[in-house]
Amino acid sequence: MIRVSVPCISIAGGEKLYPSSRGAIMALRGIDLDVADGEFVSLLGPSGCGKSTLLRCIAGLEQLSAGTASIHGQPILSPPDGIAMVFQRDALLDWRSIIGNVVIAAQLRGHRAALYRDRGMALLERFGLAGFADRYPWELSGGMRQRVAICRALLMEPTILLMDEPFGALDAMTRDDLNVELIRMWQASRRTVVFVTHSIAEAVFLSDRIAVLSRGPGRIEELMKVDLPRPRDLGVRETPAFAAHVAHLRAVFTRLGLMTT
């Protein structure tokens, strides 16, 4: 295969070891993954497969023990420019209003909050939270809080959005809503997204490609392209093509002994 351009994110021979009292524990082994600009890739796997670790290595929060990780050809040695992260627990600051929690992304980078207030308000409006700008996190539901966390991540217009099981703690209906809102946002902006999840349906619905990880040590068992038309809405989940993708992934997990039939 001839590569015409440098991939956005590139991991080659990625390996991660954690020291422990009974020798080193291998969390990741033999990870090879390229993510193109504007691509939506999910890391799908059971808990403990190292998918969050892989995401943290891309974020520059941790370093691979062996192999290379780079963004646009630059090795990731510390948190790179132009990335933002959304966490499973929203990590909102209790003492800040909703708009305050969004503009902190600018303040942490040394910008004045006032300059980003309008942009923050526009984001809140896009996620249906315009009326809540002056409320506090504890007054909002889990789904609304996670929307605020997404607005905070988008404020500085990152080129890469890293999402670590962002909807894992939400109920099924709220999760569906947020999936739709996320896909709408992504279709409008085409950022590069790396999305960690353990939900097969969520991964198929959102992604261009899915990397299936197994555990002990975490490795990529399969890279699957999702052949579903875009733009997608929740209706796509009723189609035979969607069901076929889900069935295939189930079969992979069953083969790996990670799921019983």
Partner: protein, 257 residues
Amino acid sequence: MNDPDTKLHNSAVTAMVFVALLLAWEVGVRISGVAPILLPAPSAVARELANAPGFFLRESAYTVVSTLAGFALALLIGVVLAIAIVGSRWLERLIWTVLVVLNSLPKVALAPLFVIWMGLGVAPKVAVAVLLALFSIVVDTVLGLRTVDPDVTALVRISRAGWLREMLLIRLPGALPALFAGMKVAISFALVGAIVGEFVGGSSGLGTVILIAQGQFDTTRVFAALVLLGIIGAALFHLLEIAERLLIPWHLSQRSR
């Protein structure tokens, strides 16, 4: 729990208990005929206060001023020390060692030394108050500054915020609840410190009033000063609670109020 009716009801109950206790004390003293030099009746204490309101006000003000000055200094020094402790491992070891040694000394025993150093004015009172109030502020503030959600730490690192911005935007505001917990303990200690300072030397303040009245076996006056100290202590604590409610309405402990 937080509707105004219940609140009013609670205050009424507190007031009634208080009045009942005072009544029992008054009646008990009158029936038993105990000597006023041992236990004066509340009415006698009230008369004592009413006879010299200017005097008691002046002496109270002196004690309140040294208490507040000591508290404010302890707050300032305590927060700075806590930031230093959290900021540097080397400073942490240095400051903790000194603080722990200082705190293991009975600080009351240092009061005479301060009189030698600083004379009989307000300075030694403030110094003892600072010493007594400092430890709880440092300990609680350090705890507050260190308690940061790991995801928030990741957010800070990804934003490449640096030490100062993390301190100002994340750690200090996040430490406010713990700081208030420390301040509530510290304010009572500061009052104790001010009184101890007055005990060892000087000519003003409620501590001095108690000391002089004790020499004259004027038990009623001792009680009058004690009542004022009780009121001052409760008022200072209550003021802190009001400040807490205004400054950290977002905190879990404040939401149901």
